[in-house]
Symmetry: C2
Subunit: 337 residues, 2 copies
Amino acid sequence: MSFRVSVIPGDGVGPEIYFSSKKILSKLIEIYGLKIDFIEVEAGDAALSKYGEALPKQTLKVIESSDMILKGPVGESAMDVVVKLRQMYDMYANIRPAKSIPGVPNKYGNVDVLIVRENTEDLYKGIEHEISEGVAVGLKIISTTASVRIAKVALEYARKRRGKVTCVHKANVMRVTDGLFARSCRDVLKGNVEYNEMYVDAAAANLVKDPGMFDVIVTTNVYGDILSDEASQIAGSLGLAPSSNIGEKKSLFEPVHGAAFDIAGKGIVNPTAFLLSVSMMLERMYELSKNQRYLEAARSLTNSIYYVYSESKKLTPDVGGSSKLSDMIEEIYRRIT
Amino acid sequence: MSFRVSVIPGDGVGPEIYFSSKKILSKLIEIYGLKIDFIEVEAGDAALSKYGEALPKQTLKVIESSDMILKGPVGESAMDVVVKLRQMYDMYANIRPAKSIPGVPNKYGNVDVLIVRENTEDLYKGIEHEISEGVAVGLKIISTTASVRIAKVALEYARKRRGKVTCVHKANVMRVTDGLFARSCRDVLKGNVEYNEMYVDAAAANLVKDPGMFDVIVTTNVYGDILSDEASQIAGSLGLAPSSNIGEKKSLFEPVHGAAFDIAGKGIVNPTAFLLSVSMMLERMYELSKNQRYLEAARSLTNSIYYVYSESKKLTPDVGGSSKLSDMIEEIYRRIT
Ligand SMILES: CC(C)[C@H](C(=O)O)[C@@H](O)C(=O)O
Ligand SMILES: CC(C)[C@H](C(=O)O)[C@@H](O)C(=O)O
């Protein structure tokens, strides 16, 4: 089994992260004998100003024939790239690990929460209208099908982790929509795993109070967007958080952080979130191919990154180091065996 | 000018907090010569099971003729009590200080963020429907009128504070609804105060990263619900956070915490959030009456609470003490002069 991957280097710090990471990708492919073709495509703010479309037709054509998408951060046009792709290819499960990296200081010690965010509906459907002058309405859409489907994903992950799922909603206020989501989760999860429910405001506070009370959180699109950024910062830094968007036919892997235009081109951006997203991609390739080598490659990459943190010699300024992107990449590259 | 206040003792720990706080209220009234009548009314879970309505007619009748409402925490029926009252009386500004109390340990040092939450629209309108089997739709309603109105409240508070407002939204995804909110805030605030905008996911992360970057946050109803719980936990404890719901005709004051049924009746609940809500009520009475004595009473109460924390002798278990509710109340009572 071989994989075709469309790569969107992205905007801001995106291209420098991707281009300096290429040697790591090549080394993994070589050592583990992986069968992956990378095809670079344009999408994002730069594509928008060049072609008038954030997601140009030629890019979509390549993506159409790819198995996966590896995406760097995108600027203001992110909605038209990533939200569009998620819906277009029904990549319904947004998986966001908020996990501390040993060596990165944080106020909470060892944090390990996995957020499973429904990725296709809610207000992200983008159905909105100014129904009369000065009055706007957006539709929050929640369906049983999508809710049951995401609850099943949470169940799978919980079984591989600490066996606990917290369903986060606000069904005391949004009785019909969040009520339906909560009921779907309850049906799938209760009895099959340690299961509880929490209102989203309480969850936002409890993540701050004691992230250790969570294992897997399953939630709707908007709450998942908010809680995953919060949780990754609690784990240490949003800047280090990877994510995957999983669908039946295609998946997309991307760092959670943005394009960081303020430091773009300076060669000091931290590549961790992007590289951990590559690890998630390799894990997905293993799931699909059942070929152990993809899993080994994923582990080698993750371990190499962790090793560089534990050594703490070649880190970028955002995590307290004074190294350049290229030095940190070199060090990770060297560790890969 | 005299004030008529309906008191909803509430469910769970609500009644014990209110009934033991009465001596403090009486002392303030006596020392400062305040003109306040308290009328106790029933609302919440207990009222629901007794009368079949969480907000019974006789309660509404008393509230109708009151200037203010002082409310303890309410259980599962909170939506039918507080959200209903907010909308019924157009109490459009939900003011939520997230402020550290010296003596209460927290990971962030001195935090002082004020969240100004729009309190009447968004998905809280409760317009929801299962449009076909397994597909639910809720309406997120955002209007220019309500957005401009809340932005003006934020402006007023910022002027009395550090002069900075952050408008939190997600207009990159919800372009029409959040777009309208952001535009309204920009129109009112930009140029009149130090103004910036932030996506809600970034705001949730930045509160964790560095709460000091915020002074006043103005946001829509749902985001405000989530961020205010998060922020108050970052300031020290959600359990200590007061709030007010301000309207032209009536206002409602309530602790942010819930009914805490698990510790109800044990006499160990912390009365701080309720009493700080009383302070906010007294401040509002000052604003309306311009009678300095209400302000003095508010300050005396707040200072007495702070004093008891700084002494750290009579604190309830949730903040590391071993005192009972009644001891803590007694100590606050004694300090009031
Ligand atoms: C860029 C934005 C559209 C996106 C989202 O809201 O989903 C991002 O915040 C994320 O979480 O991946
Ligand atoms: C109890 C609930 C309806 C309420 C809300 O969501 O507004 C509460 O969480 C709050 O923030 O006051």
